[in-house]
């Protein structure tokens, strides 16, 4: 199998918005689509 090129673990991948760790990204976007969650940019790293 091929070796990963990642030198250290990512700080950003698979980091959910605080308080939404219990739902999936698809569920989160569905809530945004129905207006139950605001569509806002992520915080800066």
């Amino acid at each position: 199998s091929k070796k990963s090129r990642r030198k250290k673990p990512s700080q950003f991948w698979d980091v959910p918005p605080p308080g939404f760790e219990h739902i999936t990204p698809l569920q989160y976007k569905a809530l945004q689509a129905t207006g139950q969650l605001p569509v806002a940019g992520a915080a800066l790293p």
Binding site: S4, Q11, F12, D14, Y28, G41, P45
Partner: protein
């Protein structure tokens, strides 16, 4: 942009919408008149971008397939700002990648991924 953006059903290129949040672009949105003094040096902005680019490139190539080319929009147009375009070597990498990334988080936000009709980035424009 008033153009119709066709979404292809197959492509070797994907777009990750508004994924790159540049500190400079964020400052421009918050302070459109530019009255505030930029708190970021060119070196800091470049370093921020380089970290993002490598983080995304390595993860996508490791998990979803060899990348031919990756571009990040440094454009303040609403529908372009922060878009990441990734052209895979193989078309068969693109669709599974879109499906997988649409159910992953990046930096506290859900990823919005689509297939893109762009095949040549030097000829790309809104149609």
């Amino acid at each position: 942009c008033t153009r119709i953006h066709n979404k292809p059903t197959f492509s070797q290129t994907i777009v990750l919408l508004s994924m790159y949040k540049s500190p400079a672009a964020t400052a421009a949105v918050l302070d459109p008149a530019g009255l505030g003094v930029s708190q970021y040096s060119d070196n800091e902005l470049q370093s921020h971008f380089d970290t993002f680019f490598e983080d995304v490139f390595v993860e996508v190539e490791d998990k979803y397939g060899e990348i031919d080319e990756m571009n990040v929009c440094d454009n303040l147009g609403d529908h372009l700002m922060g878009n990441v375009y990734i052209k895979f070597v193989k078309e068969s990498s693109a669709k599974p990648c879109v499906e997988a990334l649409n159910n992953r988080w990046y930096n506290g936000a859900p990823i919005k991924a689509e297939l893109s009709p762009v095949t040549d980035f030097r000829e790309a424009c809104c149609r």
